[in-house]
């Protein structure tokens, strides 16, 4: 027997990366800004989106959402109340969304044409580990951190926070009762992702929503 070394030098997630690149081209051609929202479960991704979709709709902007969960269409039903097109993706046990799931759910999405959309929000499965490896073809990745989770989440999950373009500190209406150390949270985010854009929001009181919406508008203009 002889041995032979074959150099492969290929990405393990090559198939996902290729599908994501295809999606990104489609999104760019359609002129839709796609954002991938990632956080742990219960950070308030859906509450943020409920308010965001309503705010955008009152400004005459067309937005839609794909929402990922292991089971149930509860989030899609919540978000559909905003009037925006929403489609649920159930992963049935898989801990993240991948590019193939996005492609499949864009196909045959009744009444939705990418070209007619300004924004497409993808609410990922609540998980601070696995979603960071899977490109969904998004332009902007947004990581959420709620004041109830503790200031050190970025230090505990650097892989995810380092891959984000922007971060939202959510539920700031609860900052005082939770004894949330704002300065420490901002420092931690900046240690893990220097220069990251940070927004502090409350979907309940709508604090910080204006800045967040202004960021979305600015992102769309620069695309």
């Amino acid at each position: 027997m002889t041995t032979r070394i074959v150099e492969l030098r290929r990405g393990i997630l090559k198939k996902n990366d290729e599908l994501a690149a295809g999606l990104r081209n489609r999104f760019t051609a359609a002129g839709v800004l796609v954002l991938n929202l990632v956080s742990s479960p219960g950070t308030g991704k859906t509450a943020l989106l409920e308010r965001t979709l309503r705010e955008l709709s009152t400004r005459g902007v067309h937005a839609a959402a794909l929402v990922g969960d292991l089971e149930t269409d509860n989030d899609a039903r919540r978000l559909a109340a905003s009037g925006a097109p929403v489609r649920q993706i159930n992963t049935h046990g898989i801990c993240h969304l991948d590019a193939e799931m996005i492609g499949k759910h864009l196909d045959g999405w009744e009444g939705v044409s990418l070209a007619a959309l300004d924004y497409l929000f993808i609410e990922n499965v609540g998980n601070l580990v696995c979603p960071s490896s899977y490109d969904l073809g998004e332009r902007t990745r947004v990581a959420l951190l709620s004041v109830t989770e503790g200031e050190d989440k970025p230090l505990k999950y650097p892989g995810l926070f380092n891959s984000a373009d922007a971060a939202l500190i959510t539920k700031i209406d609860l900052a005082v009762p939770c004894g949330f150390d704002r300065g420490l949270a901002l420092r931690n985010l900046n240690e893990i992702r220097p220069g990251i854009r940070i927004f502090e929001t409350s979907a309940k009181t709508s604090a910080g929503m204006e800045e967040w919406i202004a960021y979305l508008v600015e992102q769309a203009k620069s695309s």
Partner: protein
């Protein structure tokens, strides 16, 4: 916990590459994983055993090289390795550094194949 799907992706990719060498057995698969790739080495090794079971890759070992984070510093221009993943700052000048040059790799570097000899040896001569 997505190591099982990562392992399944490796099996698919390596099987395809190895199929170009009929009769060869895959002895080892060598990976390069960045420390920020969100893959746990022990967990991937465990899943590798499961994913290769009853496939032509059964018994192949998985050799994993973990790569540290290297950042490029805008301030001083240096590329440097950071110690750990708790602070993304230039190791030379201490300025924050967001530009990653290494640390997210999730790559199959190479595979080692065992192939039957193409020219038959002379067993009688050898065994004398």
């Amino acid at each position: 916990m997505h190591e099982l799907s990562i392992a399944a992706n490796i099996v698919e990719s390596v099987s395809e590459a190895a199929s170009k060498y009929p009769g060869a057995r895959v002895k080892e698969v060598r990976l390069r994983l960045g420390v920020l790739a969100s893959v746990i080495e022990d967990s991937l090794q465990f899943c590798w055993g499961l994913a290769t079971e009853d496939t032509p890759l059964a018994g192949a070992t998985l050799a994993i090289a973990m790569l540290p984070v290297i950042v490029h510093c805008e301030a001083c221009g240096a590329d440097s390795e950071i110690a750990g993943v708790q602070s993304f700052r230039c190791s030379k000048c201490g300025e924050p550094a967001a530009d990653l040059r290494q640390g997210r790799e999730l790559d199959i570097e190479s595979i080692e194949l065992e192939e039957p000899e193409t020219v038959a040896a002379a067993p009688v001569e050898e065994q004398r």
